[in-house]
């Protein structure tokens, strides 16, 4: 698809920010998302092409403003919903439940 992910050749996206001694995961949740890719892949919920396409279908403004592991999380939510495994409502309810329990 002619999506925002197809960035080759675009102008005006700013300087390349480098970080010295960069960790793989800047926050703990990023590692959990990374690990869940393997778990979801082992379960056969989707293949890598469907995973990439789920990221490509993101809202373009959101795509540019969110991070790599946010893209992955978005793809999981999209694909698990489409495969009938977890609905957005179910995820919202679980998130609210965890918030109320004060478990951050």
């Amino acid at each position: 698809m002619n999506g925002i992910h197809d960035l080759g050749g675009m102008h005006g996206l700013g300087p390349i920010d480098q970080e010295a001694n960069e960790p793989y995961f800047h926050e703990e949740w990023e590692g959990r998302v990374f690990g869940m890719f393997f778990a979801n892949f082992a379960q056969g919920h989707f293949n890598v092409d469907q995973f990439r396409h789920a990221i490509e279908r993101m809202d373009p403004a959101e795509y540019l403003q969110s991070s790599y592991y946010e893209h992955w999380l978005h793809a999981f939510e999209t694909l698990l919903h489409e495969k009938g495994i977890i609905s957005p409502d179910e995820l919202d309810r679980k998130q609210a439940e965890l918030s109320q329990a004060g478990d951050s």
Binding site: D6, G8, A42, N47
Partner: protein, 119 residues
């Protein structure tokens, strides 16, 4: 399909999941052939970026037979095996007079993205 447990993480990570396919598929091109990329604009998944559509290049390597992502994204399984090549495009072909001096691009192209071009 299996639950990912501690015991199988090591094997899964080390084994990987190659998209190479053990299929007898004849290559359409060989190293040295002049090719042109198709100008396609599917709404579905493709690994043919816009900046190389409708451009002329030269095959430099044949990497063998792989699943075709445009098909695999639809089917959910490795599909439509075909040859993948490294194709070289000169900077001027892609960017015209705004190209860098003495710069070129190599990109992996599936047979389905290519047609023969005049040499």
């Amino acid at each position: 399909m299996p639950l990912l447990t501690r015991d199988i993480v090591g094997g899964l990570v080390a084994g990987g999941a190659s998209c190479r396919m053990d299929a007898e598929v004849a290559p359409k091109f060989k190293a040295g052939d002049k090719v042109a990329t198709l100008n396609i604009n599917p709404a579905s998944h493709t690994r043919l970026p816009r900046y190389v559509r409708g451009k002329h290049g030269t095959i430099t390597h044949d990497h063998g037979v792989f699943a075709f992502p445009d098909s695999s994204a639809e089917s959910g399984t490795h599909s439509d095996p075909q040859h993948v090549y490294s194709v070289r495009f000169e900077g001027e072909e892609l960017w015209g007079k705004d190209a860098n001096a003495n710069a070129c691009l190599y990109i992996d192209m599936f047979d389905s993205y290519l047609e023969a071009a005049e040499s």
